[in-house]
Symmetry: C2
Subunit: 183 residues, 2 copies
Amino acid sequence: MAERKSERTRAAILTAARERFGADGYERATVRAIAADAAIDPAMVIRYFGSKEKLFAEAAEFDIRIPDLSDVPADEVGARLVRHLVTRWEEEDTFRVLLRTAATNESAAERMRQIFASQLAPTLARLAVDQPALRAGLVATQALGFALCRYILQFPPVTALSADQAVAFLAPTITRYLTEPLS
Amino acid sequence: MAERKSERTRAAILTAARERFGADGYERATVRAIAADAAIDPAMVIRYFGSKEKLFAEAAEFDIRIPDLSDVPADEVGARLVRHLVTRWEEEDTFRVLLRTAATNESAAERMRQIFASQLAPTLARLAVDQPALRAGLVATQALGFALCRYILQFPPVTALSADQAVAFLAPTITRYLTEPLS
DNA sequence: CACGAAAGTCAACAGCCGTTGGCATATGCT
DNA sequence: AGCATATGCCAACGGCTGTTGACTTTCGTG
């Protein structure tokens, strides 16, 4: 069972990495600091993950896990979606890591675009009355803007919101973006 | 006229700095690269601005210049505001510099919060039916989310939008955040 | 117990970074 | 012209970065 120990430290590194990347962003989070948090030698980080960039790639793997909304009443879709997103964002650091980093790191931005294109857009496409890509894009602006103001920029009025309040305000916007007829 | 020349290079540095900061973010934009863009020695950058941080502070000075909307018909406030923001964001690099950097740099985030609190919130407060801080916060989530998806993450459906389309979609959301009764 | 591989330590590398001080040059004033 | 000062270049510093290779310890297995 020589591998048991190694998997534990591997997980420790990953946890520390997510914390540091999430708090400081990619550039300012140093391998040495991550190693210190995980109480191991910086060399081990490289040994386990090959490079800082590969470590980040693994630390920022994120599945948004959008539920199937196809048999949810049309007027509840927005609320269900918003609640799912907020829950999902707050139960892991991963998304925050990705969002924070995506602003200054092109590969993280690309990953963000991929999540949008492969996870969010297809699901929303079945709920939009027309122009699915455009409507998914609009939904993304509101969803990510909320995440930005709440978790990254930490605007006081936005951080002060409860999850319920957030859902109540954002849901109608999402619904409108998916269904409002184009003028 | 010894100062004329210096002011020209000072401006050149500032321009190059805004470009680099805007493209790469604070950490990855090096003093050396900025100096190279301005066709000048790295030492001059420090001589003129004292430090990289002070250079950034000056490069990221941004006045959102929100117009007086107090005598605009209530149903046009959203459109006017959105159009102003998009115009303002696109006529300078400054805002993009700030937004990109705010994700990983605490002092830039603080500046963002200040712009929100001292420039946006007070104006919106006079337009909101109640709970001015909360409503201004909601407006910010939609406005900044749009900027994030369009200028930073560059989601294709969002970059594809014309200014007119953006206004048409976002304006009703803004109006609703300012006026919709709380349930 | 002995052996070998896995896990971890340590020191050092080369390469950037922001910043500094000294020195050349140009420019404007008297 | 000659001086003072502003402007600019150059080389170098100390510090931090990701990454590497050699060495030591740990530990499961024959």
